[in-house]
């Protein structure tokens, strides 16, 4: 179909300027409320670039946009799609960037080939095939870029939600929050063991106040962590076992006999202090009110 390929690309080339005007106008009309998201000059530049790449790609004679001839067009659209996804456009708004060139383009085809119904139909079909695939392609890029964002956020959350904090010299605490499924538990365990090595901590408190469900998998991970920490010379205390969790663990049949457990993180901390031979005493000279200097307490 070399002859028809030439025609479509010729027409695009010859009418580039007025196609651009009509296309930009159509986009502006459709996205009136998007004025704030994208500047007219930027939009015009994107349209101009698309038209300048579309013509040569069509001229290559294939309307399968996955082929190398279409690489520059796909690259351009991928960039546009990604930046619009970030700007908050919806997938259909992004795809309509491509689809909205159809009307002005078909008008030019009609103007040029109007007399030859057969060829007009051929060109419209070829253009439609390519533009439809390109529209879908922008949706694919959109989807992938969203998935990347989700994956990155999950990764960040994993790290965010497992901070190992130092409560005192030699005393670490790991306040766990949320679901402890395989992937996360691995991160939790590794970061704790790492910190035990770095700090030479003797006591590590695993606080599960924020863990909604303790099933056999979570229990097994906890017990493995306790065992591994022990091998590295640190004793673990599991704290934050709420009454309903305690009852459930018992019914489940999980044996926490060999592990020191405490109801709250404060209780666990008190145990840790005692183990280290430390005591918290009240300063007799100071009042309990913030900022009080205790001067008037004689």
């Amino acid at each position: 179909m070399a002859a028809s390929g030439t025609t479509l690309s010729d027409i695009v080339k010859r009418h580039e300027a007025d196609l651009l005007v009509d296309w930009v106008a159509a986009l502006r009309a459709a996205d009136a409320r998007r004025d704030d998201l994208i500047r007219e000059s930027e939009l015009r530049e994107q349209c101009r670039e698309f038209l300048s790449l579309f013509g040569p790609a069509v001229a290559a004679g294939t309307d399968d946009v996955r082929t190398a001839a279409w690489d520059p067009v796909r690259e351009l659209l991928a960039g546009i799609s990604r930046s619009r996804a970030q700007q908050g456009f919806s997938p259909s708004e992004i795809a309509s960037f491509v689809f909205s060139v159809k009307r002005p383009l078909f008008a030019r085809l009609r103007q040029e080939l109007g007399g030859d119904g057969g060829r007009l139909a051929d060109e419209v079909m070829a253009a439609t095939a390519a533009l439809d695939q390109l529209g879908l392609y922008t949706t694919e890029v959109y989807q992938t870029s969203r998935e990347d964002v989700i994956r990155r956020q999950q990764q960040e959350m994993m790290e965010l939600s497992t901070p190992v904090v130092k409560l005192w010299d030699g005393v670490l605490a790991l306040p766990m929050i949320g679901t402890l499924d395989s992937g996360r538990t691995q991160v939790v365990m590794e970061s704790l063991l790492q910190r035990i090595v770095e700090t030479g901590a003797e006591i590590a408190i695993l606080d599960i106040t924020g863990v909604p469900t303790v099933d056999t998998l979570v229990a097994q991970h906890l017990l493995k962590t306790v065992t591994a920490a022990r091998l590295m010379g640190a004793e673990c205390i599991i704290s934050g076992i709420r009454p309903q969790i305690a009852q459930t663990i018992v019914h489940l049949g999980v044996d926490l006999q060999g592990v020191l457990t405490k109801a709250s993180l404060a209780d666990a901390f008190a145990v840790a202090m005692r183990r280290k031979g430390l005591r918290v005493v009240k300063d007799a000279g100071r009042g309990s009110d913030v900022g009080g200097r205790g001067l008037d307490r004689t």
């Binding site: 909604p212 469900t213 056999t216 309903q244 459930t248 489940l252 999980v254």
Partner: protein, 139 residues
């Protein structure tokens, strides 16, 4: 008094194909149990049993689905959960229900523990066909 919305009375089926589905099952079961007015302790028990059975469906049964179904009988309200898969099945059901028995490096407490956490417990399994565990908790 918790309000029981019409939605809370409808049965719902959730697929179990990936790890995240186990979390979804837990959340759905917790929402239902809370809507039916279960105590916090009973909610926790039901959710924990659901977590065990959903993970078995995924890990041992190769995936399947879970039906979450509010039920009433003799004026009592309950929550029934049905876990079903078309996996390898369990050759010796009695053995599988023994505390500490595991073929997958677990604690071997999921099945037996779920039986203790729930009021009703029924296990059907046929080698080569699959496994169905039906449990219920009554208020």
């Amino acid at each position: 008094m918790p309000t029981t919305s019409p939605d809370a009375a409808r049965a719902e089926t959730l697929s179990i194909a990936v790890e995240a589905d186990v979390v979804r099952v837990r959340q759905a079961v917790r929402t239902r149990a809370a809507a039916l007015g279960f105590s916090i302790v009973d909610q926790t028990k039901v959710v924990t049993a659901a977590s065990e059975l959903a993970r078995n469906t995924l890990k041992h049964g190769g995936g399947g689905h879970c039906r979450v179904e509010p039920v009433t009988a003799g004026g009592r309200v309950g929550l029934r959960l049905v876990f079903e898969d078309q996996g390898p099945g369990i050759p010796d059901v009695r053995l599988a229900l023994t505390d500490g028995y595991t073929t997958g490096g677990g604690m071997g407490l999921g099945l037996s523990g779920s039986r203790r956490l729930m009021t009703d417990f029924d296990l059907w399994s046929e080698v080569g066909k699959g496994t169905r565990v039906t449990v219920a908790k009554w208020k």
